[in-house]
Symmetry: C2
């Protein structure tokens, strides 16, 4: 038997049976041999073998497997597995792949699959459908589920309302622990997992919450009112998911009530969704700092990527022309002393790298709220001091090497002076640009890069060529 | 009354009382006025007011407040609060700050504080102490706690064993649900929060786990054996925390058993610690891609940061000299045609940016295991195609602008050809360098940058100046 869990290092070897082709290697990378085996099985339409191969497969692994398969094989895998296919797997794949797969499925299969899902997963699937398909799938759902999903979809994109789960347990405050436990034992249709139960008044207003361990530890005659936390963690349905994720991270939350503007309980946010949000956010910061749009995915097409990376390169081209303009201003000096042309990119590149270092730290610290008004001034002074120090150190090193290379101590002095200048500007630009953009309400991760590099390039070329022109009276 | 929760947007306004100085603004940034108020209160040694100000303060907020305070005030805040100070707050501050604060406290206060903590938090504090202080604090703890902490500290740094909580509930499989619930009701010293109970044999081997909601839903006479998951999520104590975090993320876990090499239950990993690990890891990737060491913290001193950023700048200087060597090779051409010197930084900078785009995507996808042997070849081809396309597009734009600027269509053609060349190399370098480093077991986040920029700089200068030299027969 193939057991997905054995391949994940989550389980000890003795649980498993000898398995020649594991799905993942020890480092967690997907094994191409396993993917090829699945592809062969799909090719042969061998349903029994496929079901056997993917028995007990976790939905995340199933999602990763779908991504690794040839696009043509993806809908076929779902067809072959039939009701054994868990639609949750579709929430684990890239959006572009999800849309493509969903297009290949017929609405009744889709409605059947969506029906089995938790509301948050169902919303993720519905979000990827066109308006027409969405309406068709919703139409085929039982009224209660349709209304709940429709309500989630009415909240803004990337809000808590979209990510929340609407399956939850809410009881009145006068119930006893015993009543509550009996209710849970007798109700078949409970949420799949939950860590707290909520307490509401008849109008649905949130009064409190009781953690499951608290419930278990209390005696049966105790009322819920007595043990509930009457200031439970709560977020508003319209709140942005990033903001909610920061709260979960800061206060180590596992779940939180989601309420509407009138404090009525509408759903619950779970930490596993928050982990995904935090990862998405970190992904976005990393990509944006590297000049890539935050929504770029590995599955995107060449044309999409080319178009999405174009604006950054275009912005860079414009600033590069600006620096070229600075260089042209010193055309005469360059003609008289070609050594300047050879050395000037070194100055600019040192400035660019030092500026990027400071900017990276600043952008990330702003995102995690570690950098704010309380410490901005201290960090600005610190970065300036680091810039001066590194400027002095590299002025000596670079000056010496340049002096030796061109057999001219004067060249060494000029490049050293230019370097101190550019490293100070790099430090200040690296911290002030993100702070200013943040103050203006612009995401510093997206736009700091081009500004900082323009500053360091222009200052670098201007300082080096300018100082040289004065020094040598070129 | 000041209630920390009111300041976090987790609570609705009606819960709160008018409060002129909130701790955080709406965006989550710390309010300098509140920090100043606390500083004044410390200055006046007004214990009552301080305790009132920080009443119900969440430990995370307390940690952030400590970071925001002047270093001299930090130990004084802890002294003034006395037993009202929750040592968990110290696990929320930067390591450098934690070490500094701990140095200022005497071992008995420290032992008293550590004793109140969950084991994972206690380990974090102990890790920040010198060997001598650590032994002294451990000596003052009750034997059971000392042994548990000592065992955690014996695991390698950044392993699951260091991060795990040793407080857990484990029961034998033959107990009934009723017995288990009664046991929990009668035991005073239960873990603060837990989401599952574990099932072990008399030798402590892990047999299974029961989620709390499962326990609540089952009738009292049912045995644990019947409802337990006999393949519970488990990690090995020696496993690296990043690996464990990826598993939590991939399989949406909330807690997992930690076992030793003999499958004996030694602790439990909780999702809130995992959230921190994932954030640390994302932080590390972001910093490393920006040329900053992963352990740099906002609280580090100028000298520490200067030294820690030096190696990256030094590496960049060396590669910059390499590119300068390439330029010098074409010294003659530059002397005859100064336009080349003006335009060459544009070509190099376009290459550097395009290479960084591809590299950023590749490094992050490797870290999250999205990029592996199954799709490497497809991504390489895709990046090359994007490089060719953007190369062609920018060859036309840049060529046209350069031709107009220097009134020479030939310059336009030369820069266009150079640009196509460099953007193809940038794409290939951006993807092949991280893949190769990863294959060699080197962290691609740390070292890809300098390699990729060297490639794009050298290819950029060589292509542009080389093509120009041939074209104009300089």
């Amino acid at each position: 038997m193939l057991d997905a869990d054995d391949k994940t290092a989550l389980h000890t070897p003795e649980d498993g049976v000898a398995e020649p082709v594991p799905f993942r290697d020890e480092e967690g990378f997907i094994n191409p041999d396993f993917v090829a085996l699945v592809a062969d099985t799909i090719q042969e339409s061998d349903t029994a073998r496929l079901q056997h191969l993917l028995e007990d497969f976790h939905e995340s692994d199933l999602g990763d497997l779908l991504e690794a398969l040839d696009p043509d094989f993806r809908p076929r895998l779902i067809e072959l597995l039939g009701s054994a296919f868990d639609f949750t797997a579709l929430t684990e794949v890239d959006e572009a792949i999800r849309e493509e797969i969903l297009e290949g499925l017929n609405p009744s299969t889709l409605a059947e699959g969506v029906r089995e899902l938790d509301s948050d997963d169902a919303v993720t699937i519905l979000e990827s459908l066109g308006e027409e398909d969405k309406a068709e799938v919703l139409d085929q759902l039982p009224p209660m589920e349709r209304i709940a999903l429709q309500r989630s979809l009415d909240y803004p994109e990337e809000s808590a309302g979209r990510r929340m789960q609407t399956e939850l347990i809410a009881v009145p405050p006068f119930w006893t622990v015993g009543q509550t436990i009996d209710f849970m034992r007798d109700t078949a249709d409970l949420p799949e997992t939950f860590y707290e139960i909520f307490v509401i008044d008849p109008a649905g207003h949130l009064l409190g919450a009781v953690a499951l361990d608290r419930l278990l530890r209390s005696k049966r005659p105790v009322t819920i009112q007595e043990i509930m936390d009457d200031e439970p963690d709560r977020v508003e349905a319209t709140q942005n998911q990033e903001e909610v994720a920061r709260l979960f991270e800061r206060y180590n939350l596992v779940s939180a009530a989601v309420v509407d503007e009138a404090n009525r309980l509408v759903g619950v946010m779970m930490v596993d969704d928050i982990v995904d949000v935090l990862e998405e956010e970190a992904d976005a910061d990393i990509k944006q700092l590297g000049g890539v749009k935050s929504d770029e995915e590995l599955s995107d097409t060449v044309l999409y990527i080319q178009r999405s990376r174009f604006p950054w390169l275009f912005a860079n081209m414009c600033t590069a022309f600006l620096s070229a303009g600075v260089i042209r201003f010193f055309e005469g000096s360059l003609e008289r002393m070609v050594a300047l042309a050879i050395l000037m990119p070194i100055v600019a590149s040192m400035g660019g790298n030092a500026g990027t270092q400071t900017m990276t730290v600043a952008v990330r610290a702003l995102a995690t709220r570690e950098l704010g008004r309380t410490n901005a001034w201290r960090i600005i002074r610190r970065e300036a001091a680091v810039g001066i120090l590194n400027g002095l150190v590299f002025a000596v090193i670079l000056g010496a090497v340049a002096a030796l290379w061109f057999q001219s101590s004067q060249i060494g002095i000029v490049i050293g002076l230019a370097l101190i200048t550019v490293l100070i500007f790099a430090a200040l630009g690296g911290i002030l640009v993100p702070l200013t953009l943040n103050r203006l309400g612009v995401d510093p991760a997206v736009s700091s890069g081009p500004f900082v590099t323009s500053i360091t390039d222009i200052v670098g070329f201007f300082a080096f060529l300018g100082i040289a022109t004065l020094w040598f009276s070129l």
